[in-house]
């Protein structure tokens, strides 16, 4: 008993020492973001110190889980929220963030292509975007699929790794993608029916799907057009390539917004401008996304991230419609042939 108490006291002491180095400060700009952005691995590790040094504004970056959890938290906190800025709301969940954020006519807006601005009132300003795509192993010996409907060919039986639209935003992206191309009628149904045979598995999220892909379980995986960039930059290989389909691709856009009623409006504006200018390259590389600012020059590795000619922006799809599509999808996929 005494020993246990001793160990506990010791551990508490050690913990306090660890914690001491990270004491919270008074006058700071509080930014909510999703976890992979806020981590030292993510863009924040480099960007926040740079911003603090340049402007003298201290930033408290709060990682509020994933994108959805972040909005949920703002909703739960309501007017009492500590957040001055929220970063990383995707266009499909934007409607939930709107009640809590205010417009900002940033001078940088003119550098952002109009088709990316999903909020006409500029409450959420896009800062990066990506397009869902199938990535394939070009050395797998199969023919390269040239269109979305090519994937239903029987030579791809058990060769494709898909992601569940009920548990993953990437999976949902594919569902809306097929909806945009085929509608919700027969074509939609027959595409998914064929994919029942061609899908090796339908993973719960992007992480496990892509892990299966890199382990060589199947040569084709649902991911982003930008995925090959990592392999070029870090593995020095162009073996894994994103395929651009002529039918078009589903896009996902991430936005940043200033919280309504913040008393740090000026600082918040500076932060938003910083994210839209100097931070663009670092964010693009770390997130594997495209920058929105058209004046940005990307590293060469991004040559392997082909930009689709046609982009669908389903962010505005009615939540009820999304649910209807999911139900339909589930019926198709669980129906016994």
């Amino acid at each position: 008993m005494k020993k246990a108490l001793f160990i506990m006291l010791f551990a508490f002491a050690a913990l306090s020492a660890v914690m001491a180095q990270a004491a919270a400060e008074e006058d700071v700009l509080t930014v909510y973001s999703y976890d992979s952005f806020a981590s030292d691995w993510g863009p924040a590790g480099k960007l926040i110190p740079a911003f603090e040094e340049e402007t003298g504004i201290k930033v408290n970056l709060v990682s509020a889980g994933d994108g959805v959890e972040m909005i949920s938290r703002v909703e739960l906190e309501g007017e009492d929220t500590n957040a001055d800025v929220i970063l990383g709301v995707t266009d499909d969940f934007a409607y939930r963030a709107y009640p809590y954020i205010e417009s900002y006519e940033s001078p940088v807006l003119s550098d952002i292509p109009d088709e990316l601005k999903f909020d006409p009132e500029n409450r959420l300003i896009p800062f990066d975007y990506g397009a869902f795509a199938f990535v394939w192993d070009s050395e797998c010996g199969l023919d390269k699929p040239k269109s979305l409907s090519d994937l239903t060919d029987s030579q791809y039986e058990n060769k494709v790794i898909l992601i569940d639209p009920r548990t993953s935003s990437v999976g949902l992206g594919l569902l809306l993608w097929t909806y945009n191309i085929y509608g919700d009628g027969e074509e939609f149904e027959s595409w998914w029916k064929a994919m029942k045979d061609n899908a090796l598995t339908i993973a719960d999220g992007w992480s496990s799907a892509y892990g299966l892909f890199t382990e060589g379980e199947a040569p084709i995986v649902l991911s982003y057009t930008t995925s090959p960039v990592y392999h070029v930059m870090n593995d020095n290989t162009t073996r894994y390539q994103a395929i651009v389909f002529p039918e078009g691709h589903e896009a996902t856009i991430e936005g940043i917004g200033i919280v309504k009623g913040t008393d740090k409006r000026e600082e918040a504006e500076k932060f938003v401008d910083f994210i839209l200018t100097e931070a663009q390259i670092d964010i693009a590389v770390a997130n594997s996304m495209y920058p929105v600012n058209s004046s940005i020059e990307l590293p060469d590795a991004f040559d392997w991230a082909p930009k689709p000619d046609v982009l669908f922006r389903s962010g505005a799809t009615d939540p009820a419609k999304v649910e209807e599509l999911q139900t339909k999808w589930l019926e198709i996929m669980t129906e016994i042939n």
Partner: protein, 541 residues
């Protein structure tokens, strides 16, 4: 006087119960209250929807099957391990607790690297048979789900049952043999009834775990028809953002798991036990050969997926040796080494504190429930297990939003408290069979000698519990080490533990780096287990 003693045990358990109520029940009730918005419209719809019942059937099927198979495999093994002593016995028991520490994403990866169609096992088989196609198609089927669940959970049954059986004196069995009863009859009529609390405990723990599993089911099952409640709850929380329906589904699932808990919590009290421990026989000759065969079998089952993760930390998919993942950790441009170091330290300290606390509170709750023959205490303390991680996460995020704090110090305390809530059920469940074996006569003798209830608990009852507490500590430590969601939600991302770093590595495409961090995690758990076993008798008392 007698009543006073019972009150003493209850009071003793109170702090632990209080923590559960504040940290778990209150946020949970707030979460559940969403289901009753709009006159409980969501709840009615869930009850009317036929799909809910389809989910229920599948979820029950996979959870019951996983729990049944795990316990059935564990019983014969436990019977051997609780009878004989032989070299490596403790090592095997320790190793089997390791699987808890690995975050589910790495379990999936480990499985794929080992059992995958393009995995090491198949590569090996192809080499032997000279065939150039996948010989063993294991993954992406219902049996893969069960295999993975048994892999993850069989150690629970193995450890709990072996532990209980070892502490159980074999005098009744000897008496039965003397009276001419056969082995089978003795086992069914003499051994099994006394073993039941431990077997049931293991069964229900595994059942609850598998009931709320979903990543493994979706990825390894390979078919959306294999969906559990948790999949749907996750969808309602994270994709469709319908808190009312999520809460309604959670209540439905919670109701079912609670019923299971109540059914299996029958207070069966054993008066026959004595303090005398069974002495293990030394395995010789034929038994020694059997022992080694069993060890080989167990190791062949539990080690490969873990070794696969370690293998991947050093070798690329093509089979080339590389230290790149380790270099990434050691000297990345943003000082990853310091991040990894603080991850190791954070993980260790949080796991150590929360598991010590869980054993401290858990043993008190276990004693109180055994003394009072209470059915409600084990149920209350198991509730966090019955809730499922998504619902728990929702509750914790509610808590985080309500507390709204700025201090990192407070973050740590919240995280430790949350870990405590999550692992406390384990501690209680592990210790309860031990507490039930303490005969009342022992305490009565002590009271007759004029010893107070407090002293009796400390000097007489606690020492009997200590082997159970050791196991509970190991479980709790391993579980806390692998925890991700609560840590993230409650610390605003300011507390980085190893599993969190693993997820971050993966989200930046670095699977090999994740495997390297996973290796560190396993190493850390192994070292702590080894130290715990080294200190045997009095390490945690």
């Amino acid at each position: 006087m007698k009543r006073n003693r019972a009150t003493f045990y209850t009071l003793n358990a109170l702090p632990g119960i209080l923590i559960l109520v504040v940290l778990f029940l209150i946020p949970l009730f707030f979460t559940f209250s969403y289901a009753f918005h709009d006159n409980g419209k969501a709840l009615v719809e869930i009850f009317k929807d036929e799909y809910t019942y389809r989910l229920l059937v599948f979820t029950l099927e996979e959870a019951l099957l996983s729990a049944l198979i795990s316990t059935l495999i564990a019983i014969p093994l436990a019977s051997f391990f609780s009878k004989y002593t032989f070299p490596l016995r403790r090592t095997v028991l320790t190793l089997s607790g390791l699987s808890f520490t690995i975050p589910s994403i790495l379990v999936v990866l480990g499985f794929v690297i080992w059992y995958g169609n393009n995995g090491l096992l198949n590569a090996f088989l192809m080499k032997i048979t000279g065939r150039d196609y996948t010989t063993l198609q294991i993954l992406y089927s219902f049996k893969a789900i069960i295999l993975a669940h048994v892999y993850l959970n069989f150690p629970i049954a193995f450890l709990l049952i072996t532990n209980a059986w070892t502490e159980m004196p074999d005098t009744p069995e000897k008496a039965a043999y003397t009276l001419g009863a056969g082995r089978a009859r003795t086992f069914i009529h003499v051994t099994l009834p006394r073993l039941t609390p431990a077997v049931l405990s293991a069964f229900i723990l595994i059942f609850l775990f598998c009931f709320s599993s979903f990543s493994i089911i979706l990825v390894l099952g390979g078919n959306p028809a294999y969906s559990t409640f948790e999949t749907e709850i996750y969808r309602r929380v994270n994709i469709n953002v319908n808190r009312e329906e999520a809460a309604a589904l959670s209540i439905f699932a919670f109701f079912i798991t609670s019923v299971m808990l109540i059914i299996t919590s029958r207070g069966r009290k054993n008066q026959r036990a004595t303090r005398k421990e069974k002495t293990l026989e030394k395995a010789k000759g034929k038994t020694l050969v059997v022992a080694f065969l069993l060890i080989l079998l167990i190791l062949l089952f539990i080690l490969p997926p873990m070794l696969s993760i370690i293998y991947r930390a050093f070798y690329t998919k093509a089979g080339d040796f590389t230290l790149r993942a380790w270099n990434d950790i050691a000297k990345g441009s943003t000082g990853l080494m310091s991040t990894a170091m603080s991850g190791i330290i954070n993980s260790f300290l949080i796991a150590l504190l929360s598991s010590l606390l869980s054993v401290y509170f858990g043993s008190r709750i276990a004693l109180a429930s055994a003394k009072r023959n209470s059915r409600i205490l084990p149920v209350i303390s198991s509730m966090p297990m019955a809730t499922g991680s998504v619902t728990l996460g929702l509750g914790f995020s509610f808590l985080a939003a309500t507390v709204g704090h700025d201090s990192i110090y407070f973050s740590y305390i919240l995280v430790i408290a949350a870990h405590l809530t999550i692992i406390l059920p384990f501690a209680v469940r592990t210790i309860t069979p031990g507490a039930k074996m303490i005969p009342d006569s022992l305490a009565a003798a002590s009271y007759t000698l004029g010893v107070s209830a407090f002293r009796t608990m400390r000097k007489v009852e606690k020492p009997i519990l200590s082997p159970y507490k050791r196991k509970a500590f190991a479980f709790a430590f391993a579980l806390s080490l692998g925890e991700v969601n609560a840590t993230l939600t409650l610390s605003d991302g300011h507390v980085s533990t190893l599993p969190i770093l693993i997820y971050r590595m993966i989200s930046s495409y670095n699977y090999q780096g994740a495997a390297a961090l996973g290796t560190l995690l396993l190493a850390e758990a192994l070292i702590v287990f080894a130290i715990g076993e080294g200190g045997r008798k009095h390490a945690i008392s």
